[in-house]
């Protein structure tokens, strides 16, 4: 592996002061510290300010369509399980238009990481309310106060089946970096909700706002979010969900829930197809003799024998 910088030299066109810069720093640092091979790492994103991030990181980047990053990532990971796949998206991307895929990833427990840039607004379309903006709040660009309630991303992720669920804060890059590293190292579907100030459109949930309120779960001595055994699962889940409703003067960040008891989707496929994942769709032969199909006439008849009738004239 040829060493490369983990940052590209593109100009980053986020607004000065945007929380996305903090997230970018954390991602790059996490990749660096894990020594990920850029050619074996893929950032998949949707559409939004946040989803521009793949262009700024010097690993493979797949900047897809709004709300569908998880779906693209699913195909990438299943077809080549050797890749480390990290999804980035906005709160609109992942919990608005993409909520169906978000929920589904939970019940698959596919080994990818989802990092949500949670800024309470639709940044790139100029500040409409996102699904995490609380009801009644009127951020800058809204014509009227928000009429819909906020989703609780942590509770939703746990209910959906994610086996690693955490929250970070964009401007605590060091802490966030550690979460990202753990999420990548976790086997299974991981979700990190990142509180991300949007300086341009969200004048309520500002850096100032969060700075005063966030505290770290990992610094709470009694906090142990890891289910090591199946019988601990429900208890840990319930605790985590309960904790996720703490939102006000104090906002917890850190790991809410880790479930080590569930098999990943890849593992289940490998139970069906023993060669998988060492032989996988992206690494398996489809031809012989350069341009002939792997299956020849003889093999065809053997494989599809149940469709083939030996004609017996009588």
């Amino acid at each position: 592996m040829v060493p490369r910088s983990y940052k590209t030299d593109l100009w980053i066109d986020w607004c000065p002061g945007c929380g996305n810069f903090g997230i970018l720093t954390a991602v790059v640092k996490a990749f660096e510290e894990l020594g990920l091979d850029p050619s074996k790492t893929v950032i998949v994103s949707g559409i939004g300010c946040s989803s521009k991030i793949p262009h700024f990181v010097n690993v493979n980047g797949v900047h897809t369509i709004h709300g569908r990053a998880i779906a693209f990532a699913t195909g990438i990971k299943l077809a080549n399980p050797e890749l480390t796949v990290v999804v980035h998206g906005g709160d609109g991307d992942l919990l608005g238009i993409g909520a169906g895929h978000f929920v589904t990833l939970g019940r698959r427990n596919l080994d990818i990481v989802v990092i949500m840039h949670n800024n309470g607004v639709y940044g790139l379309t100029k500040g409409q309310a996102s699904p995490t903006l609380p009801m009644g709040v009127k951020t800058k660009a809204l014509v009227k106060p928000n009429i819909q309630q906020a989703l609780n991303p942590i509770a939703l992720a746990i209910s959906a089946g994610y086996t690693f669920v955490a929250r970070g804060y964009a401007f605590d890059s060091e802490h966030l970096k550690n979460l990202i590293k753990m999420a990548i190292e976790h086997k299974g579907a991981a979700f990190i909700d990142v509180l991300q100030p949007c300086v341009t459109f969200n004048d309520v949930f500002t850096a100032e706002y969060y700075r005063k309120r966030v505290y770290k779960l990992d610094e709470q001595p009694e906090w142990n979010p890891v289910a090591e055994k199946p019988e601990e699962r429900v208890e840990k889940m319930i605790k985590a969900i309960e904790k996720s409703f703490e939102w006000g003067e104090r906002i917890p960040i850190g790991i809410f829930y880790i479930d080590k008891t569930q098999s990943t989707l890849e593992e289940r496929y490998s139970q069906r197809i023993p060669l998988y994942p060492s032989i996988h769709p992206a690494k398996s032969n489809i031809t012989r003799d350069v341009d002939k199909p792997l299956i020849d006439n003889n093999m065809f008849e053997k494989i599809f024998k149940e469709y083939i009738v030996d004609v017996e004239h009588i």
């Binding site: 040829v2 050619s39 262009h55 699913t74 195909g75 299943l78 080549n80 169906g100 489809i286």
Partner: protein, 637 residues
């Protein structure tokens, strides 16, 4: 006298086993060298609605079209008799259950009111009481039909008693009664039936034995009819035949073509393809591993296309399969694939629309959706297959085109093909090639969208020492977003100009096939499932001195306008007739768009049932001889 071919309808309530009857019969007939085609008509319903098989058996060839009227109507229930009163031909045979003889039309709740009212009206007009017995008498009297009553209850009771089967399972043997009755009429040998049952009920010797007893009991009850509808000795020389649906054939083609990732969201009539693929997700033959193919049931069709695109980026041959409602949801993803030059295949089985429409019926009304849905301009390829054989090879070629030209490919099929069981010759895989296109080994300076070539060499996600970017936004050679107007023009043009390249590079046989007379008096134009019936219609018309050709369009986009213009020019435009399973006959409009040639003669069918030989022959005659412009076909219950 033995017949050259024979038509039949096997009908009964959905879930009662008509499909099993069809499969067993088709396989047994194939075993003896007969050619079979069998269309399945069924409601969007799991149990109880009227379903039927419309089948044609040929001693002479592998048949490619269905025809009315039929020689045999085998009815599991009263509804079948009422529904198909018009379908029986002169001196045909009706097999029915004597248990329903007194059943009245109004006692059949599963029959739709509109249908019931129509049948009631017709019977009134004919002066026939709406009771099974009266209808059967009428068929006997008016058509000279042989009416064969079997007491299903009696047969089943005998069976139950002999084999000590729980009477609640009796209904499972009804399909055997139908198989048996037909076999007796055709004079089919016992061995072929036994062999077919043994495949159907593999590993269940008891079921085979029981069904063979059913055959015996039925035979005893209709001895006088043994062989009354016998077929000639088959003249086919195939030593092996496949008996498969279009779904199965496409699945096989995809697997041979190197499919490695298939996503799907269940939908009729596409889902069975994915089921078949899943069965073969991994095979070891002669020490060679074939696969793995990851078959992924996604949460919706959006995820199906997006995950297939993702998989394609890793270098795996990837596809998804769907029908109209699902395709609609895939269109945004398709546009991304176009913008990012991703080789991904969508197998698109048309069914009756709009909206949920007639989800289990056939149609060719989605042509323009396949060609034009998706915002923005980008290269895509749409190919269609005229029959099972074409579909097999096209399923492979779809991947070749996708990878050579780095475009999404839509393989446009329909429910008729999907669900029709046919005898198909084995493919010859020596004729098949796999083209993977220009593949790059990447490296530090790799540019995924290198502008120096029309087709930028493709490296895969995961290629060592290589990184690349993809973006749905307009991008530069590296794949980074760029809005500069000059870059826009270069990238945009590069992507679209591939369409010309594709037209230049694909050989004529991938674009169309031309059948029939060399210098025809008239030309029938169509695509997809029109082929079989059109070819048979031409043969029939030729006997009447009407000499025509059939243009089977295969490459629908980019549209081969030069070839089509040339072919159309060879006949006067008012001797060109477009045929399609749709209202609008879009193929005529597509031709007009491409060539400026406006075809004014059309044959349309949009009942959801396939065009049959008799009605197409009739329609073409009316157009050719009576100067009619448009004929709308309606045959079939």
């Amino acid at each position: 006298m033995p017949r050259e071919g024979l038509s039949m309808i096997l009908g009964g309530p959905q879930g009662a086993g008509v499909e099993t009857s069809m499969t067993v019969l088709a396989r047994a007939l194939a075993r003896r060298g007969y050619g079979v085609i069998a269309d399945r008509e069924y409601f969007s319903n799991i149990t109880g609605r009227h379903s039927y098989i419309h089948m044609y058996v040929s001693a002479k060839s592998l048949p490619r079209s269905l025809r009315y009227p039929v020689d045999i109507l085998a009815a599991m229930d009263a509804e079948t008799v009422f529904t198909h009163i018009d379908d029986l031909g002169e001196r045909g045979y009706v097999i029915y259950d004597t248990g329903v003889l007194q059943k009245k039309l109004d006692e059949i709740p599963s029959m739709e009111d509109v249908t019931k009212n129509r049948v009631r009206e017709e019977l009134r007009r004919l002066g026939v009481e709406p009771v099974v017995e009266d209808v059967l008498n009428f068929l006997r009297d008016s058509k000279g039909a042989g009416i064969i009553g079997i007491s299903f209850a009696d047969v089943l009771k005998t069976l139950m008693t002999k084999h000590k089967v729980d009477p609640r399972r009796a209904s499972r043997y009804v399909s055997g009664i139908i198989v048996s009755a037909v076999a007796v009429l055709l004079g089919l040998d016992e061995e072929s039936i036994r062999w077919s049952f043994s495949i159907q009920f593999a590993g269940r010797e008891d079921l085979v034995a029981q069904n063979m007893d059913v055959l015996k009991f039925v035979e005893e009850r209709m001895r006088s009819f043994r062989g009354v509808a016998s077929l000639e000795k088959p003249s086919n020389s195939y030593s092996k035949l496949m008996v498969a649906t279009g779904n199965d054939v496409v699945a096989m083609g995809k697997i041979v073509g190197g499919l490695r990732y298939q996503s799907y969201y269940p939908i009729t009539p596409a889902a069975d393809e994915s089921f078949t693929i899943e069965k073969y997700e991994f095979s070891e033959v002669d020490g060679v591993s074939v696969g793995p193919i990851i078959v992924m049931q996604t949460e919706d069709e959006i995820a199906a296309i997006c995950s297939a695109i993702g998989a394609a980026l890793t270098g795996a041959r990837s596809a998804t399969a769907t029908s109209g409602p699902g395709f609609d949801l895939m269109v945004e993803g398709l546009s991304w694939a176009g913008a990012n030059e991703v080789p991904v295949v969508i197998t698109y089985y048309q069914r009756g629309g709009p909206s949920t429409g007639q989800p289990t019926r056939g149609s060719q009304s989605d042509l323009f959706n396949a060609l034009f849905a998706g915002h923005g301009e980008f290269a895509r390829v749409v190919i269609a297959s005229g029959d099972h054989e074409e579909a097999f090879y096209d399923a492979i070629e779809a991947f070749n085109i996708a990878e050579r030209f780095q475009v999404p490919v839509i393989h446009l099929l329909d429910k008729f093909l999907a669900n029709t069981v046919k005898t198909v010759p084995l493919p010859d895989l020596n004729k098949v090639k796999i083209f993977r296109g220009d593949i790059s080994s990447g490296g530090l300076n790799y540019k995924r969208f290198d502008l120096s070539k029309l087709i930028s060499p493709r490296a895969f996600l995961g290629t060592p020492d290589t990184v690349m970017w993809y973006a749905g936004d307009e991008h530069d050679e590296l794949g980074h977003i760029v809005e500069d107007p000059e870059n826009r023009v270069s990238m945009y043009s590069k992507r679209i100009e591939k369409m010309d390249l594709i037209l230049r590079e694909l050989p004529p046989e991938r674009k169309f096939s031309l059948h029939g007379i060399d210098k025809p008096d008239f030309l029938v134009v169509g695509w997809g499932s029109v082929k079989g019936v059109a070819l048979d219609a031409l043969e029939t018309l030729e006997k009447d001195g009407l000499k025509g050709a059939y243009l089977n369009l295969k490459l629908l986009w980019p549209f081969p306008l030069d070839d089509v213009s040339k072919i159309l020019s060879s006949v006067s435009l008012d001797r060109v007739i477009a045929v399609e399973h749709s209202y609008g006959v879009q193929i005529a409009r597509l031709i007009s768009m491409g060539t400026g040639m406006r075809i004014r003669k059309t044959v349309a069918k949009f009942t959801g049932r396939p065009i049959t030989l008799d009605e197409l022959v009739d329609a073409l005659k009316r157009i050719l001889l009576n100067n009619v412009d448009r004929v709308v076909l309606k045959h079939g219950a």
